[in-house]
């Protein structure tokens, strides 16, 4: 007897409007039986978020494109449904909670879909209370989700999902922002859940081992389902290939050094859970040209505060910064250290790649227009960018490349890369770091992924509860 399928993807093809020649999916097939828990590994930019949205009838409604095939979720034909018809059938947890949050209090966030489902008030109140408690958010019930930490927001979305209690759950990178304890909790809840769960991830973490009963790989527009060992091995091989030795020429430059001593800075309160803002302490830190130094630490530990102080964006309460052994003022730090924000969209505002790159060197009066154009063209080729591509249509990975290229053009002696590895492949991240380093810059890599740091950095600093500590050289 054939087991009833909860998720049935049959011969699905999809391509974005205007990009029919590079389809996102080609004849995709996947059957997830009812009650099954599946892990779908997919490298970044492979379309997993679009797939998740396809399953919820949000695409092609909100992202124009050509779609063909059959999608059946929880017994309902998705291609013939409006998104609201699937509210109680299929729940999605997005990778970025900010894309999903709607309301101004946590309780309202959970109540909103229940109101849509016309649940009566007493039942609603009970379900809201229970799901808040279940994810340890009952003390922030009336708080604004914007004042919560990243992990708490993720848990809030998971609480919403629990309150709706839909038979199909699609979780896109749910483990991303969670700390070790909650990762374990989520694993437990997935294992004991009666619903059909589809987890999408772009990194394999140890907790996945033995948790799921199905493993799949989304690669080259197809999905392949195999045993756990096979899938994991193939995925790891893909990731390891990233760290190939660099073949980029190094240009001889001056050597510079930046130091900070006895820096004390105020760390702004990020979460309701913290009673008062704590102070950041850094006794000794230094970074030299052509060095890659990593700064690791859990989310909210103060890495951003330190970085913002180092590049001169924020004031410090006490301490000194010195550049080439001469004390330097905050204003000058901005010209010495380039800060590559985690979100590339903060920097981009011009129509094409060429416009953005030209903007970066517009203040350089020593070069002629032709020299600037050839510099821009070389830079674009190095970073794999098409000069005439429009920024609005570029995917996340390419926008990150553009952001790196912009900073390359700025030619700063030092760069701070904030969580560069999130949302892109290891290979791409490695390439960007190498390219930025090729002009002799010193790099400070901020990450919470220790293996990424270990593979790239020569020295590591740890941020723990506001104190910067140098790790012993192995």
């Amino acid at each position: 007897m054939m087991q009833e399928s909860s998720i049935s993807i049959n011969n699905v093809s999809f391509s974005y409007e205007g990009y029919e020649h590079i389809p996102l999916f080609s004849n995709l097939h996947l059957e997830v039986p009812k009650g099954s828990h599946m892990l779908l590994l997919a490298p970044p930019d492979s379309g997993k978020s679009t797939l998740a949205r396809l399953l919820c009838a949000l695409v092609p409604k909100y992202q124009a494109g050509t779609f063909s095939g059959s999608l059946i979720v929880g017994g309902k034909d998705v291609t013939e449904s409006e998104p609201w018809e699937l509210t109680d059938i299929c729940s999605l947890v997005c990778q970025d909670p900010q894309e999903q949050l709607l309301m101004t209090t946590c309780k309202d966030e959970i109540a909103f879909p229940l109101e849509s489902l016309k649940v009566d008030k007493p039942t609603m109140e009970r379900r809201v209370k229970e799901s808040l408690k279940s994810w340890n958010l009952h003390h922030v019930g009336e708080a604004n989700p914007q004042e919560l930490s990243g992990g708490e927001r993720k848990r809030l979305l998971l609480a919403v999902t629990e309150a709706i209690a839909a038979p199909v759950l699609i979780l896109d990178e749910p483990f991303d922002d969670l700390d070790a304890y909650w990762r374990g909790e989520l694993i437990n809840r997935i294992q004991t859940s009666n619903s059909t769960v589809l987890v999408m991830a772009s990194r394999y973490i140890n907790e996945f081992h033995g948790t799921f009963d199905r493993y799949g790989l989304l690669l080259d527009r197809h999905i392949e389902v195999e045993s756990e060992e096979d899938i994991v091995m193939r995925f790891e091989t893909m990731c390891d290939a990233a760290f190939a030795p660099s073949k980029i020429e190094h240009l001889a430059t001056h050597a510079h050094k930046i130091c900070c001593e006895h820096v004390v800075a105020l760390h702004p309160r990020k979460s309701m859970g913290e009673l008062k803002p704590f102070t950041l302490h850094c006794d000794k830190f230094h970074l030299e040209s052509e060095e890659i130094v990593a700064l690791v630490g859990p989310n909210g530990s103060g890495k951003s505060t330190f970085s913002r102080a180092l590049c001169g964006l924020d004031e410090v309460q006490s301490g000194t910064f010195s550049y080439d052994d001469a004390q330097v003022e905050r204003k000058h730090l901005q010209r010495i250290v380039g800060y590559v924000f985690q979100n590339p969209d903060f920097e981009l505002f011009l129509p094409t790649v060429k416009d953005e790159l030209m903007w970066s060197i517009k203040n350089d009066l020593r070069k002629s227009k032709d020299e600037k154009e050839s510099l821009v063209a070389t830079c674009a080729t190095m970073f794999g960018l098409n000069l005439n591509a429009t920024v609005a249509t570029m995917g996340y990975g390419m926008r990150k490349h553009l952001q790196a290229a912009i900073h390359y053009m700025l030619n700063r002696p030092f760069y701070i890369l904030d969580e560069l590895d999130s949302g892109i492949t290891y290979a791409a991240a490695f390439e960007m770091v190498t390219l930025l380093k090729s002009r002799g810059a010193g790099i400070l890599l901020i990450t919470h992924d220790r293996s990424f740091a270990a593979n790239l950095a020569e020295r590591t600093y740890t941020m723990s509860k506001g104190t910067l500590i140098a790790e012993a050289f192995e």
Binding site: S68, E82, L348
Partner: protein, 187 residues
């Protein structure tokens, strides 16, 4: 296997309209409260709220600009502690948005890639909007502290509005160039 290219795109654009108005309202609030440019005199500072109202009017028409402008500046007044100005801001900026949107009514052509409202039309809308805003606030201020003292605010409001219109026209064009999908949000 059905080809569902245009399936369900005709049905219910309410969510998109609500989202558009809500986010533009939030942008008005932020632009009014965050960038503080001039010295604090009577009302406090010149803000960039006129920039957003122009932007909304040039791109989305009278209704969106009226609601985003009116509601947004009223909320900004509430949050800033100037609650007594809120109902008046609602009316003045609401009217400003509506009139500007009517004059510079955006056209809805298929496959439009740029904002093709002529600059003179946007400038005219901007100037009329300026008059509405300055006159409106003058009347409000005279209600609170008399006709003559209220004149103090007029030059400052003119400056704010004028700067807002100029930036608004430039920004409307540059935003469409930087992010063409915005044209598909137009009704």
């Amino acid at each position: 296997m059905a080809d569902n290219t245009n399936h369900s795109r005709q049905s219910s654009k309410v969510a998109l309209k609500i989202s558009l108005v809500a986010i533009l309202t939030a942008v008005v609030v932020v632009f009014t409260m965050v960038p503080k440019i001039a010295t604090p005199v009577v009302k406090g500072y010149i803000s960039l709220c006129d920039v957003v109202i122009c932007f909304a009017a040039f791109l989305f028409g009278p209704w969106v600009a009226a609601i985003a402008g009116g509601l947004g500046s009223a909320l900004a007044d509430l949050l800033g502690g100037y609650a007594q100005w809120a109902p008046f801001s609602l009316i003045v900026h609401g009217l400003q948005g509506m009139i500007m949107g009517c004059i510079a009514l955006p056209t809805k052509k298929k496959n439009q890639t740029t904002l093709n409202t002529p600059v003179w039309r946007m400038a005219l809308a901007g100037v009329v909007g300026m008059v509405v805003m300055v006159a409106g606030y003058y009347l409000t201020a005279s209600l609170f502290y008399g006709f003559e003292p209220a004149l103090v605010e007029v030059p400052l409001n003119l400056l704010q509005s004028g700067v807002g219109v100029i930036i608004g026209i430039i920004v409307a064009k540059s935003t469409v160039l930087a992010y063409p999908p915005v044209l598909s949000f137009m009704r």
